[in-house]
Protein backbone atom coordinates (compact mmCIF):
# COMPACT_ATOMS: atom_id res chain seq x y z
CA UNK A 1 0.00 0.00 0.00
CA UNK A 2 1.49 3.30 -1.09
CA UNK A 3 0.98 6.17 1.40
CA UNK A 4 -1.15 9.11 0.32
CA UNK A 5 1.70 11.64 0.49
CA UNK A 6 3.81 9.61 -1.92
CA UNK A 7 0.87 9.18 -4.29
CA UNK A 8 0.33 12.93 -4.29
CA UNK A 9 3.99 13.68 -5.03
CA UNK A 10 4.18 11.17 -7.86
CA UNK A 11 0.96 12.45 -9.42
CA UNK A 12 2.18 16.07 -9.23
CA UNK A 13 5.41 15.07 -10.98
CA UNK A 14 3.45 13.20 -13.63
CA UNK A 15 1.05 16.09 -14.23
CA UNK A 16 3.86 18.63 -14.60
CA UNK A 17 5.68 16.38 -17.05
CA UNK A 18 2.59 15.63 -19.12
CA UNK A 19 1.56 19.29 -19.35
CA UNK A 20 5.07 20.28 -20.35
CA UNK A 21 4.94 17.54 -22.98
CA UNK A 22 1.60 18.82 -24.28
CA UNK A 23 3.17 22.22 -24.85
CA UNK A 24 5.84 20.84 -27.18
CA UNK A 25 4.34 18.20 -29.37
CA UNK A 26 1.11 16.32 -29.86
CA UNK A 27 2.48 13.46 -31.91
CA UNK A 28 1.97 11.07 -29.02
CA UNK A 29 -1.76 11.86 -28.95
CA UNK A 30 -2.13 12.45 -32.66
CA UNK A 31 -5.21 10.25 -32.95
CA UNK A 32 -7.24 12.75 -30.88
CA UNK A 33 -5.60 15.88 -32.09
CA UNK A 34 -8.78 17.86 -32.57
CA UNK A 35 -10.13 18.63 -29.15
CA UNK A 36 -8.19 20.04 -26.17
CA UNK A 37 -10.61 18.65 -23.60
CA UNK A 38 -10.29 15.09 -24.91
CA UNK A 39 -6.56 15.57 -25.02
CA UNK A 40 -6.58 16.60 -21.37
CA UNK A 41 -8.50 13.48 -20.34
CA UNK A 42 -6.27 11.12 -22.27
CA UNK A 43 -3.14 12.74 -20.92
CA UNK A 44 -4.35 12.23 -17.36
CA UNK A 45 -5.55 8.67 -18.12
CA UNK A 46 -2.42 6.80 -16.88
CA UNK A 47 -2.72 8.62 -13.58
CA UNK A 48 -6.41 7.70 -13.37
CA UNK A 49 -5.63 4.06 -14.06
CA UNK A 50 -2.99 4.10 -11.36
CA UNK A 51 -5.38 5.62 -8.83
CA UNK A 52 -8.15 3.39 -10.18
CA UNK A 53 -11.33 3.44 -8.16
CA UNK A 54 -14.85 3.50 -9.56
CA UNK A 55 -16.08 5.72 -6.72
CA UNK A 56 -13.60 8.49 -7.46
CA UNK A 57 -14.38 8.38 -11.17
CA UNK A 58 -18.13 8.59 -10.58
CA UNK A 59 -17.72 11.47 -8.15
CA UNK A 60 -15.58 13.24 -10.75
CA UNK A 61 -18.17 12.65 -13.45
CA UNK A 62 -21.02 13.99 -11.31
CA UNK A 63 -18.92 17.00 -10.32
CA UNK A 64 -18.26 17.84 -13.96
CA UNK A 65 -21.92 17.32 -14.81
CA UNK A 66 -23.07 19.77 -12.13
CA UNK A 67 -20.52 22.28 -13.37
CA UNK A 68 -21.79 21.75 -16.91
CA UNK A 69 -25.33 22.60 -15.83
CA UNK A 70 -24.19 25.76 -14.06
CA UNK A 71 -22.09 26.98 -16.98
CA UNK A 72 -24.78 26.09 -19.51
CA UNK A 73 -27.32 28.11 -17.55
CA UNK A 74 -25.06 31.13 -17.60
CA UNK A 75 -24.47 30.64 -21.34
CA UNK A 76 -20.79 29.77 -21.42
CA UNK A 77 -21.28 27.29 -24.23
CA UNK A 78 -17.70 26.41 -25.05
CA UNK A 79 -16.84 25.83 -21.40
CA UNK A 80 -19.88 23.64 -20.81
CA UNK A 81 -18.97 21.64 -23.90
CA UNK A 82 -15.50 20.99 -22.51
CA UNK A 83 -16.93 20.00 -19.15
CA UNK A 84 -19.52 17.65 -20.60
CA UNK A 85 -16.78 15.88 -22.56
CA UNK A 86 -14.90 15.38 -19.31
CA UNK A 87 -17.96 14.05 -17.53
CA UNK A 88 -18.70 11.63 -20.39
CA UNK A 89 -15.18 10.23 -20.31
CA UNK A 90 -15.23 9.93 -16.53
CA UNK A 91 -18.52 8.02 -16.67
CA UNK A 92 -17.24 5.69 -19.34
CA UNK A 93 -14.10 5.08 -17.36
CA UNK A 94 -16.10 4.46 -14.16
CA UNK A 95 -18.31 1.91 -15.89
CA UNK A 96 -15.33 0.00 -17.27
CA UNK A 97 -13.56 0.02 -13.92
CA UNK A 98 -16.68 -1.08 -12.01
CA UNK A 99 -17.19 -4.00 -14.41
CA UNK A 100 -13.59 -4.97 -13.80
CA UNK A 101 -14.07 -4.76 -10.04
CA UNK A 102 -17.23 -6.86 -10.17
CA UNK A 103 -15.56 -9.58 -12.20
CA UNK A 104 -12.63 -9.60 -9.78
CA UNK A 105 -14.97 -10.09 -6.80
CA UNK A 106 -16.53 -13.19 -8.33
Amino acid sequence: MIPFKKKLIISIIYLVSVFLFLRTDLSFFKFLNSDPSTLLFFSILPLLIWLANSKIAIIGAIFFMVLTAIFDLSKFEKTSENLVIQSFFFFAYAVIISIKELTKER
Partner: protein, 355 residues
Protein backbone atom coordinates in the same frame (compact mmCIF):
# COMPACT_ATOMS: atom_id res chain seq x y z
CA UNK B 1 34.58 25.55 13.39
CA UNK B 2 31.59 24.16 15.24
CA UNK B 3 29.67 27.40 14.69
CA UNK B 4 30.44 27.45 10.99
CA UNK B 5 29.34 23.85 10.69
CA UNK B 6 26.05 24.55 12.41
CA UNK B 7 25.53 27.65 10.24
CA UNK B 8 26.13 25.60 7.13
CA UNK B 9 23.53 23.14 8.34
CA UNK B 10 21.15 26.06 8.91
CA UNK B 11 21.66 27.47 5.43
CA UNK B 12 21.21 24.03 3.90
CA UNK B 13 17.93 23.58 5.75
CA UNK B 14 16.75 27.07 4.74
CA UNK B 15 17.66 26.37 1.11
CA UNK B 16 15.75 23.11 1.28
CA UNK B 17 12.64 24.87 2.56
CA UNK B 18 12.91 27.61 -0.08
CA UNK B 19 13.28 25.09 -2.91
CA UNK B 20 10.45 22.99 -1.46
CA UNK B 21 8.09 25.97 -1.38
CA UNK B 22 9.12 27.28 -4.82
CA UNK B 23 8.72 23.92 -6.53
CA UNK B 24 5.37 23.18 -4.86
CA UNK B 25 4.03 26.66 -5.71
CA UNK B 26 5.28 26.60 -9.28
CA UNK B 27 4.06 23.10 -10.06
CA UNK B 28 0.67 23.77 -8.49
CA UNK B 29 0.31 27.01 -10.41
CA UNK B 30 1.38 25.37 -13.64
CA UNK B 31 -0.97 22.38 -13.29
CA UNK B 32 -4.01 24.40 -12.21
CA UNK B 33 -3.30 27.05 -14.85
CA UNK B 34 -3.19 24.53 -17.67
CA UNK B 35 -6.30 22.65 -16.53
CA UNK B 36 -8.17 25.91 -16.05
CA UNK B 37 -7.15 27.38 -19.39
CA UNK B 38 -8.08 24.21 -21.31
CA UNK B 39 -11.45 23.65 -19.63
CA UNK B 40 -12.70 27.14 -18.84
CA UNK B 41 -11.80 28.75 -22.13
CA UNK B 42 -14.33 31.56 -21.89
CA UNK B 43 -13.42 32.73 -18.42
CA UNK B 44 -10.49 35.09 -18.54
CA UNK B 45 -7.74 33.87 -16.30
CA UNK B 46 -4.57 35.80 -15.64
CA UNK B 47 -2.05 33.09 -16.38
CA UNK B 48 0.31 35.61 -17.89
CA UNK B 49 3.48 34.20 -16.43
CA UNK B 50 2.97 30.61 -17.56
CA UNK B 51 1.61 31.52 -20.97
CA UNK B 52 4.23 34.16 -21.67
CA UNK B 53 7.07 31.81 -20.82
CA UNK B 54 8.44 30.05 -23.85
CA UNK B 55 9.17 26.35 -23.73
CA UNK B 56 12.87 27.10 -23.59
CA UNK B 57 12.52 29.23 -20.46
CA UNK B 58 10.29 26.62 -18.85
CA UNK B 59 12.89 24.03 -19.63
CA UNK B 60 15.68 26.08 -18.05
CA UNK B 61 13.55 26.55 -14.94
CA UNK B 62 12.84 22.83 -14.84
CA UNK B 63 16.53 22.10 -15.17
CA UNK B 64 17.33 24.42 -12.30
CA UNK B 65 14.69 23.00 -9.98
CA UNK B 66 15.47 19.39 -10.90
CA UNK B 67 19.19 19.93 -10.48
CA UNK B 68 18.95 21.63 -7.10
CA UNK B 69 16.43 19.07 -5.88
CA UNK B 70 18.67 16.27 -7.06
CA UNK B 71 21.66 17.70 -5.20
CA UNK B 72 19.83 18.62 -2.02
CA UNK B 73 17.76 15.50 -1.86
CA UNK B 74 20.71 13.21 -2.40
CA UNK B 75 21.28 11.20 0.74
CA UNK B 76 21.66 7.68 -0.49
CA UNK B 77 20.77 6.07 -3.78
CA UNK B 78 17.14 5.03 -3.59
CA UNK B 79 16.53 1.43 -4.51
CA UNK B 80 13.69 1.25 -6.98
CA UNK B 81 11.21 -1.03 -5.20
CA UNK B 82 8.14 -0.04 -7.16
CA UNK B 83 4.75 -1.46 -7.84
CA UNK B 84 3.70 -2.02 -11.45
CA UNK B 85 1.52 1.09 -11.68
CA UNK B 86 4.15 3.29 -10.07
CA UNK B 87 6.77 2.03 -12.49
CA UNK B 88 4.56 2.85 -15.47
CA UNK B 89 3.83 6.35 -14.16
CA UNK B 90 7.53 7.00 -13.56
CA UNK B 91 8.41 5.73 -17.03
CA UNK B 92 5.75 7.90 -18.64
CA UNK B 93 6.79 11.02 -16.78
CA UNK B 94 10.49 10.52 -17.43
CA UNK B 95 9.76 9.95 -21.11
CA UNK B 96 7.61 13.09 -21.31
CA UNK B 97 10.20 15.22 -19.53
CA UNK B 98 13.06 13.93 -21.64
CA UNK B 99 11.05 14.50 -24.81
CA UNK B 100 10.35 18.06 -23.68
CA UNK B 101 14.02 18.70 -22.97
CA UNK B 102 15.34 17.13 -26.17
CA UNK B 103 12.74 18.78 -28.37
CA UNK B 104 13.60 22.24 -27.09
CA UNK B 105 17.31 21.92 -27.61
CA UNK B 106 17.94 21.95 -31.33
CA UNK B 107 19.73 18.67 -31.43
CA UNK B 108 20.48 17.00 -34.75
CA UNK B 109 17.81 14.50 -35.73
CA UNK B 110 20.12 11.51 -35.84
CA UNK B 111 20.76 11.56 -32.13
CA UNK B 112 17.10 12.06 -31.23
CA UNK B 113 16.14 8.54 -30.14
CA UNK B 114 19.43 7.92 -28.40
CA UNK B 115 19.25 11.19 -26.46
CA UNK B 116 15.67 10.56 -25.40
CA UNK B 117 16.58 7.13 -24.12
CA UNK B 118 19.64 8.41 -22.27
CA UNK B 119 17.93 11.38 -20.67
CA UNK B 120 14.84 9.42 -19.71
CA UNK B 121 16.98 6.83 -17.93
CA UNK B 122 18.78 9.60 -16.02
CA UNK B 123 15.50 11.34 -15.23
CA UNK B 124 13.92 8.09 -14.06
CA UNK B 125 16.45 7.78 -11.25
CA UNK B 126 16.40 11.51 -10.55
CA UNK B 127 12.62 11.42 -10.15
CA UNK B 128 12.94 8.57 -7.67
CA UNK B 129 15.43 10.68 -5.74
CA UNK B 130 13.13 13.70 -5.83
CA UNK B 131 10.09 11.80 -4.60
CA UNK B 132 12.24 10.49 -1.78
CA UNK B 133 13.29 14.06 -0.95
CA UNK B 134 9.72 15.36 -0.89
CA UNK B 135 8.44 12.33 0.98
CA UNK B 136 11.00 12.51 3.75
CA UNK B 137 11.04 16.29 3.98
CA UNK B 138 10.39 17.57 7.48
CA UNK B 139 9.58 21.25 7.84
CA UNK B 140 9.79 21.10 11.63
CA UNK B 141 13.40 19.94 11.55
CA UNK B 142 14.61 23.54 11.21
CA UNK B 143 12.66 24.50 14.33
CA UNK B 144 14.31 21.68 16.28
CA UNK B 145 17.73 22.78 15.08
CA UNK B 146 17.06 26.39 16.08
CA UNK B 147 15.84 25.40 19.53
CA UNK B 148 18.93 23.23 20.10
CA UNK B 149 21.29 26.01 19.06
CA UNK B 150 19.34 28.50 21.14
CA UNK B 151 20.01 26.51 24.26
CA UNK B 152 23.74 26.54 23.52
CA UNK B 153 23.64 30.28 22.85
CA UNK B 154 21.74 30.89 26.08
CA UNK B 155 24.35 28.97 28.02
CA UNK B 156 27.10 31.06 26.49
CA UNK B 157 25.28 34.30 27.23
CA UNK B 158 24.60 33.28 30.82
CA UNK B 159 28.29 32.48 31.25
CA UNK B 160 29.11 35.93 29.86
CA UNK B 161 26.69 37.67 32.18
CA UNK B 162 28.07 35.72 35.07
CA UNK B 163 31.58 36.83 34.22
CA UNK B 164 30.49 40.44 33.88
CA UNK B 165 28.77 40.26 37.22
CA UNK B 166 31.95 39.06 38.83
CA UNK B 167 33.81 41.93 37.25
CA UNK B 168 36.21 39.51 35.75
CA UNK B 169 36.19 38.98 32.06
CA UNK B 170 38.24 35.85 32.07
CA UNK B 171 37.44 34.53 28.66
CA UNK B 172 37.13 37.13 25.87
CA UNK B 173 37.13 34.23 23.46
CA UNK B 174 33.45 33.64 24.22
CA UNK B 175 32.56 37.22 23.28
CA UNK B 176 34.52 36.97 20.06
CA UNK B 177 32.82 33.69 19.28
CA UNK B 178 29.36 35.11 19.89
CA UNK B 179 30.02 38.26 17.85
CA UNK B 180 31.53 36.22 15.06
CA UNK B 181 28.58 33.85 14.91
CA UNK B 182 26.09 36.72 15.04
CA UNK B 183 27.83 38.50 12.17
CA UNK B 184 27.88 35.35 10.06
CA UNK B 185 24.28 34.53 10.83
CA UNK B 186 23.00 38.03 10.04
CA UNK B 187 25.07 38.25 6.86
CA UNK B 188 23.69 34.91 5.67
CA UNK B 189 20.13 36.10 6.29
CA UNK B 190 20.76 39.44 4.56
CA UNK B 191 22.40 37.68 1.62
CA UNK B 192 19.56 35.22 1.16
CA UNK B 193 16.91 37.94 1.37
CA UNK B 194 18.84 40.22 -0.98
CA UNK B 195 19.58 37.51 -3.51
CA UNK B 196 16.03 36.20 -3.61
CA UNK B 197 14.70 39.77 -3.93
CA UNK B 198 17.09 40.48 -6.77
CA UNK B 199 16.14 37.26 -8.56
CA UNK B 200 12.41 37.99 -8.21
CA UNK B 201 12.96 41.56 -9.45
CA UNK B 202 14.97 40.41 -12.45
CA UNK B 203 12.46 37.69 -13.33
CA UNK B 204 9.63 40.20 -13.14
CA UNK B 205 11.52 42.63 -15.37
CA UNK B 206 12.21 39.86 -17.84
CA UNK B 207 8.54 38.86 -18.01
CA UNK B 208 7.52 42.46 -18.56
CA UNK B 209 10.02 42.68 -21.41
CA UNK B 210 8.75 39.43 -22.93
CA UNK B 211 5.14 40.59 -22.70
CA UNK B 212 6.06 43.84 -24.41
CA UNK B 213 7.81 41.92 -27.19
CA UNK B 214 4.72 39.79 -27.71
CA UNK B 215 2.60 42.84 -28.35
CA UNK B 216 4.89 44.43 -30.93
CA UNK B 217 5.59 43.69 -34.60
CA UNK B 218 9.07 42.32 -34.33
CA UNK B 219 11.48 39.70 -35.65
CA UNK B 220 13.24 38.10 -32.71
CA UNK B 221 15.29 35.39 -34.31
CA UNK B 222 16.74 34.33 -37.63
CA UNK B 223 17.91 30.74 -38.00
CA UNK B 224 20.54 30.25 -39.39
CA UNK B 225 22.36 33.58 -39.54
CA UNK B 226 25.10 32.29 -41.80
CA UNK B 227 23.97 30.52 -44.92
CA UNK B 228 24.28 30.33 -48.67
CA UNK B 229 21.92 30.57 -51.65
CA UNK B 230 18.91 28.27 -52.01
CA UNK B 231 18.87 27.30 -48.34
CA UNK B 232 15.85 27.53 -46.08
CA UNK B 233 15.76 30.29 -43.47
CA UNK B 234 13.36 30.55 -40.53
CA UNK B 235 12.28 33.91 -39.12
CA UNK B 236 10.70 33.88 -35.67
CA UNK B 237 8.91 36.76 -33.99
CA UNK B 238 5.53 38.15 -33.12
CA UNK B 239 2.51 39.61 -34.92
CA UNK B 240 3.60 38.97 -38.50
CA UNK B 241 -0.06 38.76 -39.44
CA UNK B 242 -1.59 36.27 -41.85
CA UNK B 243 -0.52 37.09 -45.37
CA UNK B 244 -3.87 36.50 -47.10
CA UNK B 245 -3.86 39.20 -49.76
CA UNK B 246 -0.13 39.15 -50.50
CA UNK B 247 0.07 42.68 -49.16
CA UNK B 248 2.73 41.86 -46.58
CA UNK B 249 6.28 41.77 -47.89
CA UNK B 250 9.58 40.34 -46.81
CA UNK B 251 12.05 43.03 -47.86
CA UNK B 252 15.78 43.41 -48.38
CA UNK B 253 17.84 46.21 -49.90
CA UNK B 254 18.00 44.22 -53.14
CA UNK B 255 14.23 43.80 -53.41
CA UNK B 256 11.49 41.66 -52.01
CA UNK B 257 11.83 37.94 -51.36
CA UNK B 258 9.12 35.95 -53.11
CA UNK B 259 9.96 32.32 -52.46
CA UNK B 260 8.13 32.02 -49.16
CA UNK B 261 7.25 28.51 -48.01
CA UNK B 262 5.31 29.36 -44.88
CA UNK B 263 3.83 32.53 -43.44
CA UNK B 264 2.19 32.34 -40.02
CA UNK B 265 1.68 34.85 -37.26
CA UNK B 266 4.99 34.08 -35.61
CA UNK B 267 7.04 32.13 -38.11
CA UNK B 268 8.13 32.66 -41.71
CA UNK B 269 10.12 30.17 -43.77
CA UNK B 270 11.73 31.24 -47.02
CA UNK B 271 14.42 30.18 -49.46
CA UNK B 272 17.38 32.53 -49.99
CA UNK B 273 16.90 33.93 -53.52
CA UNK B 274 19.73 34.28 -56.02
CA UNK B 275 19.28 38.02 -56.49
CA UNK B 276 20.60 38.86 -53.03
CA UNK B 277 24.22 39.96 -52.92
CA UNK B 278 26.86 37.96 -51.12
CA UNK B 279 27.81 39.23 -47.71
CA UNK B 280 25.74 40.88 -45.06
CA UNK B 281 22.22 41.99 -45.94
CA UNK B 282 19.40 43.25 -43.77
CA UNK B 283 15.94 41.71 -43.77
CA UNK B 284 12.74 43.32 -42.56
CA UNK B 285 8.98 42.91 -42.87
CA UNK B 286 6.42 45.34 -44.24
CA UNK B 287 2.70 45.03 -43.69
CA UNK B 288 -0.27 47.36 -44.13
CA UNK B 289 -1.87 48.66 -40.97
CA UNK B 290 -5.33 47.48 -42.04
CA UNK B 291 -7.09 46.00 -45.07
CA UNK B 292 -7.84 49.21 -46.97
CA UNK B 293 -5.60 49.93 -49.94
CA UNK B 294 -4.51 53.36 -48.68
CA UNK B 295 -3.45 52.28 -45.21
CA UNK B 296 -0.06 53.16 -43.77
CA UNK B 297 2.71 50.59 -44.04
CA UNK B 298 4.30 49.26 -40.87
CA UNK B 299 7.95 48.23 -40.83
CA UNK B 300 9.44 45.71 -38.43
CA UNK B 301 12.97 45.73 -37.08
CA UNK B 302 15.90 44.66 -39.26
CA UNK B 303 17.80 41.43 -38.81
CA UNK B 304 21.15 40.54 -40.30
CA UNK B 305 21.65 37.66 -42.73
CA UNK B 306 25.13 36.66 -43.80
CA UNK B 307 25.22 35.04 -47.22
CA UNK B 308 28.36 33.06 -47.85
CA UNK B 309 29.57 32.23 -51.32
CA UNK B 310 28.46 28.83 -52.53
CA UNK B 311 32.08 27.96 -53.52
CA UNK B 312 32.80 27.76 -49.81
CA UNK B 313 30.59 24.67 -49.67
CA UNK B 314 30.52 23.09 -53.12
CA UNK B 315 33.44 22.13 -55.39
CA UNK B 316 34.08 24.06 -58.59
CA UNK B 317 34.23 22.41 -62.01
CA UNK B 318 38.05 22.40 -62.03
CA UNK B 319 38.13 20.60 -58.72
CA UNK B 320 35.44 18.22 -59.87
CA UNK B 321 37.38 17.19 -62.96
CA UNK B 322 40.43 16.31 -60.94
CA UNK B 323 40.98 12.52 -60.78
CA UNK B 324 41.77 12.74 -57.08
CA UNK B 325 38.56 14.62 -56.44
CA UNK B 326 37.45 12.90 -53.20
CA UNK B 327 40.78 13.10 -51.44
CA UNK B 328 41.79 16.68 -52.17
CA UNK B 329 42.12 18.57 -48.91
CA UNK B 330 39.89 21.44 -50.03
CA UNK B 331 37.09 19.12 -51.03
CA UNK B 332 37.21 17.25 -47.76
CA UNK B 333 37.06 20.59 -45.95
CA UNK B 334 34.05 21.58 -48.04
CA UNK B 335 32.34 18.33 -47.28
CA UNK B 336 32.88 18.88 -43.57
CA UNK B 337 31.53 22.42 -43.92
CA UNK B 338 28.45 21.17 -45.76
CA UNK B 339 27.86 18.59 -43.06
CA UNK B 340 28.37 21.18 -40.31
CA UNK B 341 26.18 23.86 -41.88
CA UNK B 342 23.37 22.00 -43.63
CA UNK B 343 23.09 18.64 -41.89
CA UNK B 344 23.90 19.51 -38.31
CA UNK B 345 22.75 23.14 -38.78
CA UNK B 346 25.42 24.42 -36.42
CA UNK B 347 26.79 27.14 -38.70
CA UNK B 348 25.90 29.92 -36.28
CA UNK B 349 28.21 28.54 -33.63
CA UNK B 350 31.22 29.72 -35.63
CA UNK B 351 31.63 33.45 -36.02
CA UNK B 352 32.10 33.18 -39.73
CA UNK B 353 34.29 35.86 -41.30
CA UNK B 354 33.85 36.35 -44.94
CA UNK B 355 36.85 36.64 -47.19
Amino acid sequence: MKYIYSLMRFTKEILKIVIFIISILFSGYFILGTIYSTLFTELQFKEQIVSSMTNYELMLMLFGILGILGILGFRKIVKPILSKGELIIYLFSSYFLSYFIVKNFQFPNRLFVLLILLISVILFFLLLQITDFFYNFNVLYLGELISKEKIKLNQNISKLVFNFNNGLLKSPIIIIKIIFSLIIFSSVIILTIGLSGLIIFKVNQYFDYQNQLRKSFIITKIIPKNTTYAQEIVLQGYNFGWDLNNLSLLMTKDGAINDIKLWTDNEIRFIVPLHLKEGKSFIWLEKPENDSSHSAILKSNQVLLNIISRWEFYPSQINYDNPFYPIIKENILRKIKRFWFFKLKLGDLLSYNQR
